[in-house]
């Protein structure tokens, strides 16, 4: 294959598919390379699809995309060892079309998205691993694959190769990831009859619930747990910063087992059949860990560019948006016959800066550091809050004033007045 393409997209996840679709739809000659047996076979996500980002690419996606359940209820739990305190938000507005978000199963969804990319005119080749970028001087001119005679050339290469992004690293565009900038998440999928899920979560057909969890389930590590309802399955997982796993000496699978055994979670999983166990790194370093995103003949999109908003559990929407903006950048440059050099591809960064992607990442830039340095948010506070609620709700002949005094004492005793105020300020600054 010695022919030259307008663009090569490496990877067929949400970012790569969005870029390839945008480019092919406009009539460019696009090659997309995917190392899996089929698109999706190497990809892992919770997974929640936010409609808005996809709507801007494929407005009528709801007609045939494999969607599991639209989400009508969001639960946030703060867990102690034996209990949880939570908030639930359920709204009929979230149960009115067009729906805002859905659970999806990535292997199916990515396959569907890839079919759209192919229908738009891109050439998609699977079972092909890109080994390195072909570089002429400083400029990326193509890719080297693991197939015979595997050099392929293009005006621009879009790197959508995921969190590990080996290609950018080998080319020196991107330093090695640091354990503090990635979370390791493990998850299982458990199958049930549809009606069992609907009864357990008090939902109708196609309606879904998500539970996000923080607290003692991560054993003091910075991280979260989650439980999502699919059509006939539940996904349950937990993710913590890799630097914490390294320091803590807890295995990820033991952490997941311990979380599944929590008295509030165990009944929800009762009787299911576990059919897959997955693990994935999530780039959660935030704004300050974003690498150089473009150069002569290349751009980085999706997880490879650290585009995950950990505070809001958003990633695939940032991936799709970055892929689309990279595609639109190439289209604009093509229209004015401008070469795909760094000075022109800078437009991609300008577009990202103007979008919610960079604005949100910038907003939460302090959060990773605050959580790293303040473990009390993962252990002490969940414990205190749970104990306080327990104390208030337990009817045992002790008067309420005395109970309130005891609760106040427990907070001040653990954190001191100064500490409590400092913690409030830190959280406010991190989410400001």
């Amino acid at each position: 294959m010695s022919e030259k393409f307008d663009a090569i997209v490496v990877g067929a996840g949400p970012a790569g598919n969005s870029a390839a679709y945008t480019l092919a739809k406009a009539g460019l000659k696009v090659l997309q390379l995917e190392r899996g047996e089929y698109p999706g076979s190497k990809n892992v996500q919770g997974a929640i699809l936010y409609s808005d980002a996809l709507e801007r690419i494929i407005p009528d996606f709801r007609e045939d995309a494999p969607l599991e359940r639209h989400l009508i209820e969001q639960r946030m739990w703060v867990l102690d060892d034996e209990s949880y305190v939570g908030t639930h938000y359920r709204s009929n507005e979230f149960n009115t079309p067009p729906y805002n978000r859905y659970t999806i199963i990535r292997a199916q969804f990515d396959k569907w998205f890839s079919k759209k990319v192919q229908e738009a005119g891109a050439l998609v080749i699977c079972e092909t691993t890109v080994r390195e970028l072909l570089v002429d001087g400083k400029r990326v001119i193509g890719v080297q694959t693991d197939r015979d005679g595997g050099s392929i050339y293009a005006d621009v290469v879009v790197l959508a190769d995921g969190v590990n992004s080996l290609l950018a690293k080998k080319a020196g565009f991107h330093p090695e990831l640091e354990p503090k900038d990635v979370a390791l998440a493990v998850k299982e999928i458990h199958f049930f009859p549809e009606t069992t899920i609907e009864q357990r979560f008090n939902i109708g057909a196609d309606e879904g619930v998500v539970i996000e969890m923080v607290g003692k389930i991560t054993q003091g590590m910075v991280g979260t747990g989650f439980l999502y309802t699919n059509k006939e399955s539940l996904t349950i997982g937990v993710g913590c910063m890799l630097s914490d796993f390294k320091a803590q000496k807890t295995t990820p699978y033991a952490l997941l087992e311990q979380m599944k055994a929590h008295p509030a979670i165990k009944p929800l999983l009762e009787g299911g059949e576990m059919k897959e166990y997955t693990a994935h790194l999530i780039p959660e370093g935030g704004y300050n860990a974003i690498p150089q995103l473009y150069g002569d003949g290349w751009m980085i999109v999706g997880d490879a560019g650290m585009f995950v908003n950990a505070a809001h559990r958003e990633g695939s929407n940032l991936a799709m948006t970055s892929g689309r903006l990279a595609g639109e950048t190439v289209l604009e440059l093509k229209a004015r016959n401008a070469p795909m050099i760094a000075a022109n591809l800078k437009l991609y960064k300008t577009k990202l800066d103007a979008s919610f992607v960079m604005k949100d990442l910038k907003k939460y830039q302090r959060l990773p550091d605050v959580l790293h340095k303040n473990r009390q948010f993962m252990t002490t506070y969940p414990e205190l809050v749970n104990q306080a609620v327990h104390e208030i709700l337990k009817v045992d002949g002790v008067d309420k004033k005395t109970k309130e005094r005891a609760i106040r004492k427990s907070f001040v005793g653990k954190r001191s007045w100064f500490g409590l105020m400092g913690d409030a300020f830190k959280l406010w600054r991190a989410f400001e």
Binding site: R35, G36, E37, G40, S41, K42, N43, V44, Q45, A47, I105, R106, A107, Q108, D110, C126, E127, T128, T129, R131, T145, D146, R147, V163, N164, L166, E176, L177, E178, P179, V182, L184, V186, E188, I189, S233, L242, F245, K246, K249, T250, T251, P252, Y253, A254, E257, A261, M274, K275, E276, Y277, T278, A279, H280, L281
Partner: protein
């Protein structure tokens, strides 16, 4: 408590026999220089085992291709990590 081996048993793999995609660059570094051996704790597929004599053995058949072992080997950079050949390795049914 489900063991990790039982979890991995549910997964679908196409193993590239005889061509592991991850290598320990210098086994002596693991055995002698590396005290903490984080790969043996953090790998979510338990591919790395700490042996009694300090050696670390690696069997990549159950690898989930997450990249953890590469990223955490910060002191010694002793993990040579590539993606498997196209089409090989873990094949997620659901993802």
């Amino acid at each position: 408590m489900i063991k990790v081996e039982e979890k991995l048993f549910q997964n679908r793999y196409r193993v590239d026999s005889g061509r592991p995609h991850i290598d320990i660059a210098d086994p002596e570094i693991c055995q002698v220089a590396c005290k903490s051996k984080p790969c043996t704790v953090c790998c979510p597929a338990a591919c790395y085992t700490a042996e009694g004599d300090g050696r670390v053995t690696l069997i990549t058949d159950g690898c989930l291709e997450c990249g953890t072992c590469r990223v955490i080997c910060t002191e010694h950079r002793n993990v040579h990590w590539e993606y498997p050949r196209g089409g090989y390795g873990i094949l997620f049914k659901f993802g």
